[in-house]
């Protein structure tokens, strides 16, 4: 149980860290494509995207 919890935490944090590390160690400037990807994510968040999955429901909400 403990190990599975830790692995779950590691996987959750890998989702966050991996693309950032990859971008930081890549050579050259931030490309127009990468800039566009970031802008697209902001546009998606502006439209309210990303908050509709069950983990965003409060613990007291009914399933």
């Amino acid at each position: 149980m403990e190990i599975s919890l830790l692995i779950s935490a590691v996987l959750a944090l890998l989702d966050y860290a991996e693309p950032r590390i990859r971008e930081a160690v890549s050579d050259g400037d931030v490309t127009p494509e990468d800039q566009q990807k970031l802008k697209d994510r902001i546009d998606s968040l502006r439209a309210g995207g990303g908050f509709d999955s069950p983990e965003w429901n409060k613990s007291t909400d009914k399933a």
Binding site: S8, A12, L13, Y16, I21, Q35, I42, G50
Partner: protein
């Protein structure tokens, strides 16, 4: 021997999550601080706007990681403080993100020092939320191993 291997494994796994958080944050700081923006991109070399957008998406990613971690492991964590903290993130994350984006848009449209200052304030709020989510996530991991 089996106990020792188990302890080493747990110790290694306990060290990995904070290390990943630090690596991700350092990578973001390095990318924003050290790299140049290709002027042909949508940010047109505006590093302040680019840095703000990086922080906004980072805040979403960290808060999402935290609420997902708490949701998927609620029974194992079994800590009302952590669930309460996750519910607090659930209640406020979207408003905080939207507020930061609105101020980001205002700065993008009119890049005055006043708008920059308001954007910086919103980014500070998000940085605080990132820090809290990371802290509670580490607490959730420690609770089951300590």
């Amino acid at each position: 021997m089996k106990k020792l291997i188990s302890k080493i494994l747990v110790a290694a796994l306990v060290c990995i999550p904070p290390s990943l958080v630090v690596c991700g944050t350092v990578a973001t700081v390095c990318t924003v601080g050290c790299k140049k923006l290709d002027p042909a991109g949508v940010y047109q070399s505006d590093k302040a706007l680019y840095a703000a957008d990086r922080t906004i998406t980072e805040a979403y990613d960290v808060m999402h990681s935290f609420v997902r971690f708490e949701y998927e492991n609620r029974a194992a964590i079994n800590n009302p403080d952590i669930t309460k903290a996750a519910d607090n993130v659930r209640a406020n994350a979207q408003t905080q993100i939207k507020s930061a984006i609105a101020l980001r848009d205002a700065y993008a449209a009119t890049p005055t020092p006043e708008n920059r200052s308001k954007l910086d304030d919103a980014i500070r709020v998000l940085r605080q939320a990132i820090s809290e989510a990371q802290g509670f996530m580490a607490k959730g991991v420690k609770k089951t191993t300590g």
